[in-house]
Assembly symmetry: none
Homo-oligomer: 125 residues x 4
DNA sequence: GTGGTCTAGACCACT
DNA sequence: GTGGTCTAGACCACA
């Protein structure tokens, strides 16, 4: 199971927050292959958002072969969910670090400051 | 002076990329107080993007008192450009680290991987 | 007798897969007029799917006069099972070929590729 | 450019028909890399369907790296649009042929009948 | 002008 | 009950 949380102030669209949390849930082992996700309706009620927004998030993950849906049955973590090609993974890591550094530096933060803050936050969880 | 580069694939809007690069230019000392920036027109031609996009970026930095526009003369780095309140700075640092960690984790990257990559990238420049 | 197989990934609904396999069983001579089909209950257990799904498939074939259900006895291949009006048959052939071509082309397959693959597969059985 | 057509009777969802037609347009050379697609609004008016339906189709193709969208600018055929891994392509060909044969046979059509019909239809276009 | 997101609500298809 | 599709309409963000 997994506890979803939405932050309306973040500027990140709801459906993307859901996608990120599911991806993180899988990567961190909270969600396991074959596990059923909350139904679109249940999650819509829980998060107090529209049903279509949940559908959109699930759909995108299905296209990416991370989720599998069976109409009339439910939505499940797909078997390929864990597999991320090493190549693609490294490229992605490089990408997001690059962008993050750019932003951090634009505020004048040094590499040390940033890493300290990350260690602080990272240690908590 | 400063060399602007735009990446259409990054998902970061053009005007924000420009803002980030100017802020970074100042923080890193490439841009100094009083220095003149390219005219909107010149930059629009150079980056092959719409004039309004540049205007929007300059305007937002002007609101933040980082740039100063003199009618008919041009746009300059303002005197307050370097000053960022300590309080605001820490909050910002926390914010961007928080979001970055969330994203990194959604791809399954560990804190160590991320920090290593950052050190690698950070050392180069 | 006939061995049913369901493919959840195909996108084709279960009840339709069952219908197709029964129709194919008849057309290929594996199922003969008067033969008894598995009970809905038995088939539901065997395929590990809901009882209603089997019922739906049988019911649709009953409407098409391909199956006959005798209360308390079971479901059988009806005597009209083999008869398909020539007109309807040609229209159907045209329909399914049309749709198949559209799909094949959307993936960039040429007519030759498709026909070769079909001959390959068709020869096996 | 490309001429879109929707068939409400086909049972195939609108957004999927659009996806198929774009894929086919690319595969057949009617749509070339970098070409701009109709705006979501324009296409919605042209096809007399809701704007969201077009958005959905474009979005799915964007996730598949077939289209690229720049907010405020438009939607374009992406550079990777033509590249389909040979492996994946063959698997797909096998898949769709398999399913097609199954259906064709369930109606009692022989391999010859089917191939003749396909040649007939395929020759026209 | 472009696309992006979200809502409310409807109806359909499948299990 | 499950998910799938579509509409009408709104408001936002970007160029």
């Amino acid at each position: 199971m997994i506890q979803f949380k939405l932050d309306p102030k973040s500027g990140v669209p709801f459906y993307r927050q859901i996608i990120d949390q599911i991806r993180y849930g899988i990567a961190s082992g909270q969600l396991t292959v074959g596990e059923q996700l909350p139904t679109v309706r249940a999650l819509a009620v829980e998060l107090k958002i529209n049903l279509n927004t949940i559908t959109k998030a699930y759909k995108e993950l299905e296209i990416q072969s991370i989720l599998e849906t069976q109409q009339g049955t439910g939505t499940f973590i797909g078997p390929k969910a864990v597999v991320i090609p090493e190549k693609e993974k490294n490229a992605k890591l490089s990408d997001i670090c690059q962008e993050f550094l750019m932003i951090a530096r634009s505020y004048g933060f040094s590499l040390e400051e940033v890493i300290n803050e990350l260690k602080l936050k990272g240690g908590k969880q």
